[in-house]
Symmetry: D2
Subunit: 166 residues, 4 copies
């Protein structure tokens, strides 16, 4: 089984720009994380965009949907900013029903010592191998159907919720 | 769903003893890893032993089996040294058939910067939630049935293999 | 010899705020860094402020000068943002001549895996023990007199320069 | 000023051999540490040996002495295992009096997350620039003359002591 992994940016891949003292995006850390995790999965990584999910437009989401539709693989992981992850999951679910798609992200950038990113990546890659077709969010060690989840911004965690589309 | 997590030691929990310059066991790092991964799973952690899996005796394996049988939970993760992980999986499979049990470990100690431990823990906790009853090994991002896996010691990875019990 | 260490903030102590996705200050990491470095120096740490050095006002600099003047210790290290470190060094040099004062900082926050902070702290604490009275900047493994240094913002390093006060 | 840096091994450079589950030496981490510390010093690194200092023979010490004598530089840092660092310092002091030589090491390997190595390297490189000719040990943020120091093995720290050669 080949797993397709689409990178869209998000906290996962933020870095510290030492010349400007700000956060920025450069390249994705996913290949390095797969090496660190000693992954022996057949994962095909492709970066679609490198943005904060608060800046994600309808057009960006269309790009993501099209890539998920067109790719050969039926098992897809998407790294994504947490703020609008559920929104992108909804758009994907409206368009695609015959593939297993798992969105994941991180609360702390991978490049910053104490990230949850490696844990979440291991989790998302595992869920995508065994869950039936559908669109899911994998965060905090759990998986959620796209229409049964919301991000609790005050606590910084994802939780069960019949969201407005559920 | 409550997940039972039994700690048995292994590379996962090795530390560097700075007074002696050797590797040693102290306390498990699993609770710290669950915090780092921002886990919101209901995980009940219990340390059964803290040993190198090459030193694991039949008696030790009996202890593990008994705890898996007696505990209330039907979803169990066991952290274990990689060298004899498959052997312990076999003993568990011979005794227990109605629970989902996932063994995992690490090639590099968690306490040493570049460990695969966090990735593997995220993976094992995910598989245990969705795989049907049975005994599995979760390593390298993959899961294996207890009778279809072996550790390739030269490469330091787990691979598909009809082992001697399969 | 007791070394006085004044914390003023700067990149050194920036953290990632996972709820807001921005950089922030909380507590200083200096005591943790001294532990990590197994320091056996007699260091008295005091936080004077916790700010980006671009936000440092004349009043803030007066506060720093007063604390350096009044404290009992003759060997002082100041952690400081790099952008205006040289400016604060100048103000200190104008007011104090009988103490050895070393300013240091970091290009990458200590809390982010790959920081230069620990290296710089080891360096500053060493220079302060052996340099004659005067005000110095310790960065990039080197020390500079306050009037012979500038930050090269394009390269992100400190370099020899007869600055405008030199 | 060019600083000569001789690598001899020691805890500083130990790594975890994931295939054997033991500690080992491969290449030195010093160049990577200099990059991490954003060092702008002119440092010429040369590996003389890669051994545990408990295994260091008289011949090895002769090799170190000869390299320190013959090299052009008058400022030398030596990374060294902590167990016999003081012994090597003594041999150096008996042979060389016109150069500043600073020995340093680490209690925790650099490759293992929480090392004191980067702090010690910053410290040693700073002391070597400003101390008068002589042989010194730089550990725990402090510097010691070769004949006024001993390693306290129970505490894992270096301390003032009129040693048997002092």
């Amino acid at each position: 089984m080949t797993i397709r992994l689409f990178v869209t940016g998000g906290t996962f891949d933020k870095e510290y720009d030492e010349l400007r003292g700000t956060l920025q995006f450069r390249d994705t850390h996913v290949p390095e994380m797969l090496r660190l995790g000693r992954s022996r999965l057949d994962v095909a990584v492709r970066t679609l965009m490198m943005i904060d999910s608060l800046d994600m437009t309808d057009e960006d989401r269309t790009t993501i949907v099209e890539h998920c539709e067109r790719c050969e693989e039926n098992h897809i992981v998407i790294t994504h900013g947490t703020d609008t992850m559920v929104e992108t999951a909804r758009v994907l679910a409206a368009a695609i029903s015959n593939k297993t798609i798992v969105l994941t992200g991180a609360m702390i950038p991978y490049a910053f010592g104490s990230s949850d990113g490696l844990f979440n990546l291991g989790s998302a890659l595992s869920f995508v191998q065994v869950l039936p077709p559908g669109v899911y969010v994998a965060m905090n060690g759990r998986y959620f159907r796209w229409d049964r989840v919301r991000k609790n911004r005050d606590a910084g965690v994802f939780e069960d919720a019949l969201n407005r589309w559920g």
